[in-house]
């Protein structure tokens, strides 16, 4: 977008703080979130860098899923949710009235905990996004489908049965289909909410390999319950506890020498 190109000065200043000089896709300032009277997120300040995998870990109920669902405003679908603070996506506050939520969600894709393919054909699943955003050319849609399915490492397995219903695929295939569906609109960021928790170890490994490849082109924020997974794939890790960010650092550093005793307790398996 034009706005981004014009602002290198500001961007660099923000990024100077991140170790490897990458730009930030998200800057989160004093984010608070309540479900009714319960506060689920407390004063979150974070920056999320582009072309990196940011893992979000923490025990159940610590607010990590809520956090990434706030990044594409999915939390708004729950009527009782209230938020304060700001989230800047590419320097635009996503809570601004003028910011269209559909546009945000087109730029920021999401992969869910349980695979949720539409009960349509494999092909229709992948091209759903492009279609609702007005792409009608059949050849182009076919190209998008092939490219996205290849991007999600699913093409070889399904290329001969694109017309079959997606619900006939295995769980791991369905999850890669959901990733392909997400890639089809060429997003900027991909949010993954425990994408492998419903999958067997082999499918999990495939998704992990895929995620590592995807970071070349996309910025990824991934919630995970699995600390080995966070250690294996992520560049940075944020540890959440009771709605607060306890520690946020380079993954390698955090796992070798955590600064906070609670982080140490969690990653060494003493609680959570």
């Amino acid at each position: 977008m034009l706005a981004e190109l014009k602002k290198p000065a500001v961007e660099t200043r923000i990024h100077a703080q991140t170790a490897n000089n990458k730009r930030d896709v998200y800057q989160i300032d004093q984010l608070n979130l309540w479900y009714g009277a319960d506060q689920a997120l407390k004063n979150i300040d974070m920056k999320i860098a582009e072309n990196e995998i940011t893992a979000v870990i923490g025990p159940s109920g610590c607010g990590k899923s809520t956090f990434i669902q706030t990044l594409n405003r999915m939390t708004e679908l729950i009527p009782s949710v209230r938020t304060s603070g700001s989230i800047y996506y590419r320097s635009q506050n996503i809570f601004d009235k003028s910011f269209r939520v559909e546009q945000l969600r087109t730029k920021v894709g999401m992969v869910f905990q349980k695979p949720n393919p539409f009960p349509k054909s494999i092909f229709e699943n992948v091209v759903y996004g492009p279609k609702i955003h007005g792409i009608k050319d059949k050849r182009l849609l076919a190209d998008i489908a092939e490219k996205s399915l290849k991007g999600a490492a699913l093409w070889e397995e399904v290329k001969d049965r694109l017309k079959e219903n997606a619900t006939g695929l295995s769980g791991g295939q369905q999850q890669r289909l959901c990733i392909a569906r997400c890639l089809a609109v060429e997003p900027d960021v991909i949010l993954m909410d425990e994408p492998t928790s419903a999958l067997d170890p082999i499918s999990t490994l495939k998704i992990e390999e895929l995620v590592t490849e995807l970071k070349e082109k996309y910025s990824i924020v991934m919630v995970t319950h699995n600390m080995q997974q966070a250690a294996r794939v992520s560049d940075k890790t944020a540890f959440f506890l009771n709605g607060e960010v306890i520690e946020y650092d380079e993954t390698a550093r955090m796992f070798s020498s955590p600064r906070d005793s609670r982080t140490e307790g969690y990653i060494s398996g003493r609680f959570g």
């Binding site: 559909e102 087109t106 393919p117 539409f118 009960p119 759903y128």
Partner: protein, 312 residues
Amino acid sequence: MNEQSSPSVRERIERNTKRRGMTKLTETLMPNVFLICAIISILTTIGIIITLISETLSFFQAVSIIEFMMSSEWYPLHNDASYGIRPLLTGTLVIAFIAMCIAIPFGLASAIFLSEYASDKTRRTVKPILEVLAGVPTIVYGFFALTFVTPILQHLIPSLSIYNALSPGIVVGIMIIPMVASLSEDAMSAVPDSLRQGAFALGSTRLEVAVKVVLPAAFSGIIASFVLAVSRAIGETMIVTVAGGANPTASIDITSAVQTMTAYIVQISLGDAGYGTTEYYSIYAVGMTLFIFTLIMNLLAHFISKRFREVY
């Protein structure tokens, strides 16, 4: 607690086990009671079908089945009686068609609103109200059609006669809106939220989620609700008897009086025909036709909801 004075739970259970001989009897008896209750309703249905078939056969001894199906005139009370089912069938289908033209758009729109837009609170208030609408006695709807809707329509269409197909058609439609709305809403609510979230996460608007994801996913349930509604419209009796008139005609004119199969059965049952006459048997033939139609519709609804049901 004092262990000696009060027996342990294990002891109590053991003691009770001995008394459970009684339970054994009820355990074998009760299933049979339930079975008998179930059989009664099945037997009743079979009885009705047998009566229908035998009386219909008596009718066809007097009137040829070819005349019944092919003739376009229905004058059972004339000296030179003619028994062609087509006028009654036309009247019935015209009413059902008008009713569906009202019920499908309004019912489906209400269902989409309730399932996709309304807050929980609104849904909890509106749905019971809709279902109350379905509980209004049909005779009330009949007089509503005759004394309220028809006069209004006559302002718009001066040539409209007092008894006509349009007014009862519209009111039958209004009557079945809750049915379409409620069944379609059930089908749409059964679509898991994860699909909606998936669609929202791709940048869909609410309308796109409703129309492009939820509707197709709930398609079988929605179509089944339409078919059941058609079946209900075909079988509807009081409204068409009160407001539709008693003029069996094979021509399709919604502004003049018609007669449906059900209205004809009412007319004859009220005593226009003596027992054992051909007119008397004719109501069974008409009833049989009606039965076949609604049976096909219900089977179709069942088939659609089974065959095309999405597995999420």
